[in-house]
Symmetry: D2
């Protein structure tokens, strides 16, 4: 455990090791590395580097900026395996899951390659007689991204490719739990030809975050994490006059209708509930079965499916999911299961104390857990668990199911399983949730649409990535122009009298 | 002075007169009416009415919502004279100026008539095999507008027509200085066919504002006013989890280049600096002359032009501008002139103690004032004056002029006078100001573009009205859909074999 | 029968009565008026008027052009009754149906009111270092519209409001069968404030059409009519170097699935098949029932519903539909029914020789006709009937139904009745038809989308009205701009050194 | 000269050598290869292959189609040198010029990579109560491209990447003068992973062209070439019911104003007039000097600049331009120079009989030629020369210069040299030319805008590549959807009553 992970500022790795924190390999429970925690000064250095790089980068034609992203996509694909191992070793997710995460991230880079077209402004001739007006979308300057542990590659890739291709310079503060992948992503940008200072990474904790939130040179903050922190980020950044988008927690429900294709329900819920140990803000954690018959058949199917589910180390491709991020988090998830049990729910499949090989005994493992007869009053229902736990709520009608979702404080994702066009349309239109699936349990928008929850799941008016991302990372400038006289144009007649 | 102006809630005028405040006729200085100041309870009643009206309004097809705006445009045009007199009698601006204000407001209604097209979402077939995804822009619910005294009709019209046509319901808190025009605007909406509760007006002060900022049913807040209040609104609304756009103050500079058409400069600056007594956030209050020769010629011209400028009562169409809004504000503007004088500037034309007919002697009048040799250190340069005062700063180069603008805390509007294509393009591209004029002193974007300053002139990521307004008043919902089996479609084959 | 309907050229009614043709009142069979048939010279006069009006109209700001459309909408609404009677008296459709037609037309005017936003071009800063580029959508000049008898108000309103608001000037050649309504529409434009010459109407026949198709001043031709003529128009206009969109005939099928809501099927098919006597290019003329059980139930329902259907004069609001357009056309529709009978189909309800009051005995009436067991080989299936005839084809599977549609030469509209999401999506995606309904029998796109068939139903690459209409009526101009030196901007430095 | 260049059909090189034609190396005048001229049968085979590949390709998600274009861009960059030599050896342009051509082509591939975003349709919820409608842009099927000799790589790259990424399959008929580069481009697509049959190349002459224009499976034709052929293509393709865009010839004028930066004028005109031997439809072939003084100074500068211009073999990077495409074309260009001389113009620099090394003596060389005092009546002014000939017309005023351009039959590109904002804006707005440069002599729009001339320079309503290209290669399908009852949704209530 000799390596200390530093920062990436102005094109170089910077070590600022006054304060450090341990980075674990969750699959084995071992402390694997240390990560430097940036001081205010170090963060300010990163901001200064970004600020210094801004004028030249801003003036670089968008097509040229985009060409670096084309090259970056190639490099990400060439380094796929390395990046997935970095993710897995610090986060614990299985490499095939890391590959899926990276692929989604690469798709954001693909979208960013379209910058010249995405940045087009609006042009109006003759807003008045001989007066023209156009709007241009200009970069903001230095923007910051603060990202969570659960997608150490994808969530940063939601942000910086688009911010950068729009002409901004960037300071990323990734999670200190799994900092290696994002750091490597930044280094690859340099290899792709990005000028020094345009992309910077600072590792750190609250000190780093607060510096970014208050430094007047930082123009905008994108955040993804839990709702309490999202609130803090949103309130603090805006109180400092910045624009801010802060994405928080979730409690994603699937309504299972009596006419649903139950094979599809079972297969897709297994992945959506337990994949990445449920540590996804789009994890499907509550299945709302309409009718007891639906519930019984669904639970039987899921129970059966869970028998073949395998939990273990990130590096073994045959595993379905890996450990949780930390021992503390594992304990917290277990406590939710305990509380459900105590509050009257039925533990159908109990993932507490899973069997793992002896060499993984200290890993932060929790098996897939299925809980039936959960009710809205239970703690495990009200809060986001962020673990491999699927809870079933039984209702009698679709309306009751929708009211359940309406009343929850979160509004990130949701889904309905049905084949009925009318039910699907009614649900999608009326449910106050930002991302809706119809027979799709994880309705994460593709990279050319935008990601955004409603209610307490997101703060700010523009979603992450896609068209909303472009708008967030640019500010509109409107020019109105009239040329006052035709002196030169008609004057040319008079200035040439001897030519007649 | 018997009339007390009430509120407009759920389609009716509500009187809540526990607390009131005097409304003056600034042209005569007389107290003309009282305005009720809404209690928290009254504001909550308005919010409740808006909340109750939301579900049905949200479900009204956009084309039908738009048709009410078509009718509203007709009514505004039919009531033009009445509205202008309401504006003039409480604000003081001359009726021809009020007519210009109203016309800009009507243009926002015209834009809102295009709602069915503006609200189009994005549709993607085959985001994956047989998976479709689309984004829909849905209304937020109850949204609030808080508007300033200086455009009692136009600024509300920037907000509510668009918010409403997008499917939201609205609570307007107009300025308590000139509340009659906005109240009448709301009443006309009812006449145009708007269902009760969709549009509500509460008059009031900080108590009303704070209720709107903290009530959890209010989803979004649009504000226009001074920068200190804009900051407060932005920080408070966002700390309460809302989306917010808060437009603040300005200090708009015009650069006058040596090659400018000086006749055009003089004529357009007179209107841009003194129109509406300079009580416009887009008023052109600083002329930066490049070169002393330019400055001397420009000042001579403006001085000459000012001789014909007439200040007086709002109702006399021959006046160029009217009184300031209050006696207090008049005193404040005078104090800026005093300070400039004390700090070394040259008062070229002194508007203090203007001559007015004896019947207007108590009106809040201040004449047009021209100050030369102003420098960046002076108080009158650093702060927004919001009065009929034009200050001249002399510089040697265009670069020096641009640096002056760069350094100012505001970034609302600016303008360059030149006929040189290169100078204009360099200026427009590089100046950190949101609205730029080229030979246009008041570059207010037309209604189908959007209004937004930079730096301390605006907080939030989306501008007012136009395309940004549509985006601000809607939230994106993304649906991803896959139909799981072809049971019915192909099943039809199997279920029909005996029919042959 | 003294009145002769003339032309509308350069703001005045022009009589050019060398050649005329009778206009009938189809409800009574009486010759009601005459219509002038324009000579080549008269058409050229109209083109010349349009050409002369172009430069000033082109330079009129789009917002001002749009304002005339706002006013025009008001006038159309005020003259609703008059227009509907003009339509009914010459076309024969019942006034409530004419009102529906007019309303759809007014919606196109509403869309045209959004011109300032719709005409926005694309602006790109820094396509290269300090090089900007933008695209502007400019009007074409004189454009022509040639429109059919079946929608004498709506189809012209698809064209000229949008063409005009985009800055073009227009020559309309409406159907000579029912010329009064379109002529009056043009006159109202003048009342709305449109400058003379911007809108012109010439009545006429092939001579007029050919003049428009070959005159080099005409830049573009929009046509709606039958496919053979559409082909001719498209080939001739393009051979003369013009842009052209030519919409032709149709044979619109509805697939009725076994899970369809049959009440809805029956009710909506009645209107879609027999409304306006089936003289609509979007009329639903073939119902494809999947399974005999579906067919039997559907036919029973339609037969029952047809009992209450009433045919008669245009002016009686209680009628469901009126006469056909001419005696010749009536005979042609009857011959299709005869042929179906002879070729083996079952005439379930026979509308030949309908009962009408004696005073209408000479009217061109044909009753609603329902034909079962129609097969693809029959003449009545292969050709467009354009009469109140609904034919039923029986198939065993949805796939068979789709293949039927695939094989037909037309591809205008189609519809499926089902409640199954998968079936609906599969159908909508795969069927090669331009306008698809899901449980909507007449899927005419709303005014802010665009109208366009596929296959032999339309020629050209852009649909009618909506966004495609805007693109059709404008041509892209792309400007690329670089200002070569900073002479003036930096020169200012050097020219001022002694001024310090 | 043993090699015969074949076709590329369904993923394989096909030899159909019944008829062949010689391909020359214009730099040496030697016959270098033969090219097969496809028979009708061979072309039909290509169309059949494209037709067969369409269903699967159409259903491939756009994101997956785009990913092949990402890979294609990499391959084009890796094969840059090879492609440039193929171009040079058959066309004659110097390899640095070929590299510029290829780069512009690659930029079209970059644009095509944005397909998932570019193909987004329009979605409208509630076009009526509970009725939704959306427009989808679907591929056409088999589309054909017919391309000219002068840009054997770039013009094909304008077409097929976009057509293919939109879901179409393609048949390219490149120029038979320089067929090797386009053939290789197609082969690289296969290497990039494109399924066989999606891209096909047939070499040939009129027989191949006519087959493509009349085959009913071909849905659309894109053409670039001379105006007489463009007319023929446009008329024939449309007479066969297809959509068509046909780009033709040009006569591009630059207006040189008295205030122009003459160094910039001279430098940029040299490249724009003589680059690629003037064999470019955007070549700047007429300089219109405003005032004799301007003309004299400009001519002096150009004459001086021409002294250093070097003409020679394609492979020598120090050459400025190479030979013309054929001996016949060289003779034709010379005849234009002769005619100008005979008709009274002044040959300032005479490029006839240029000096070249003896080994190039048979090459088709013509030196740069500058002609002064050209007038509108001269043949050399009226027709497109397509050779290294720059003609100067002298006028007295800008208005006269603009009228000259207005009167010419072509309207492809034009440019003004000035630093005056007003003159530039007036020119750009009013000149009836599709692509306008302001101090930019070759204003070819970037790949994310669209290319299109006006007047006789282009037929059809949509430009090449960019947003217009996307629209040209897709057809709009509009779906309108209503789900008829809430049976399943609310039915769930009634079917479950005993479950409580």
């Amino acid at each position: 455990m000799t390596q200390t992970i530093g920062h990436f500022i102005n094109g170089s790795i910077i070590e600022d090791t006054a304060r450090t924190q341990t980075v674990f390999n969750p699959s084995t429970g071992e402390a694997a590395r240390k990560v430097a925690l940036a001081s205010k000064t170090t963060v300010e250095e990163a901001v200064a580097a970004a600020q210094a790089a801004f004028p030249a980068w801003r003036n670089t034609p968008p097509a040229k900026r985009a060409r670096i992203m084309f090259r970056y996509k190639e490099l990400l694909e060439q380094n796929r395996e390395k990046i997935c191992r970095l993710i897995g070793s610090e986060h614990g997710k299985i490499v095939h899951d890391a590959a899926g995460e990276l692929q989604r991230g690469i798709e954001n880079v693909e979208f960013a390659c379209g910058a010249p077209n995405l940045l087009k402004g609006e042009y109006s001739k003759n807003v008045g007689p001989d007066i023209d007006s156009w709007s241009d979308f200009q970069p903001l300057g230095v923007v910051a991204g603060i990202t969570p542990f659960n997608f150490p590659a994808m969530v940063p890739l939601w942000m910086f490719p688009l911010a950068i291709v729009c002409g901004n310079t960037f300071v990323l503060k990734p999670s200190e739990r799994d900092p290696s992948a994002p750091l490597f992503l930044a280094q690859l940008l340099k290899e792709a030809g990005l000028p020094d200072g345009v992309m910077n990474v600072v590792n750190g904790d609250k000190e780093a975050v607060d510096t970014l939130l208050t430094d007047p040179r930082v123009q905008a903050v994108s955040f993804v994490g839990s709702t309490p922190i999202a609130r803090y980020i949103y309130a603090t950044a805006t109180a400092n006059g910045k624009r801010c988008q802060a994405l928080g927690g979730a409690k994603n429900h699937a309504i299972v209708m009596p006419d649903a294709d139950l094979d599809n329900v079972v297969n897709s819920l297994l992945g959506a509930a337990f994949g990445s140990s449920g540590e996804r803000c789009m994890a499907l954690s509550v299945a709302v079965a309409v009718g007891d018959e639906t519930a019984d058949r669904m639970i039987a199917g899921i129970k059966e499916g869970m028998k073949t589910m395998k939990v273990g180390a990130f590096s073994d491709e045959s595993n379905h999911f890996g450990p949780l991020i930390t021992a503390e988090h594992k304990a917290k998830v277990e406590s939710y299961i305990d509380s459900a049990e105590q509050q009257g729910a039925t533990i159908v499949v109990d993932g507490r104390n899973p069997e793992v090989p002896s060499e993984l005994a200290k890993g932060f493992y929790l098996g897939g857990t299925l809980i039936d007869r959960v009710t809205p009053e239970m703690t495990s229902y009200q809060e986001e668990i962020f673990g491999p736990v699927l809870q079933v709520v039984r209702v009698k009608t679709m309306q009751e199911a929708m009211e359940l979702i309406n009343r929850h404080i979160y509004g990130n994702g949701t889904c309905i399983y049905t084949r009925d066009g009318e039910a699907a349309r009614y649900f999608a239109d009326n449910i106050p949730v930002g991302m809706v699936g119809i027979n799709i349990p994880l309705p994460v928008p593709v990279s050319y649409h935008s990601f955004g929850g409603w209610k307490q799941s997101a703060f700010g008016d523009l979603g992450a990535y896609g068209p909303d991302g472009v708008r967030f990372y640019t500010r509109r400038k409107t020019v109105t122009q009239r040329w006052p006289t035709s002196e030169v144009r008609e004057g040319a007649v008079f200035s040439m009298p001897t030519l007649g």
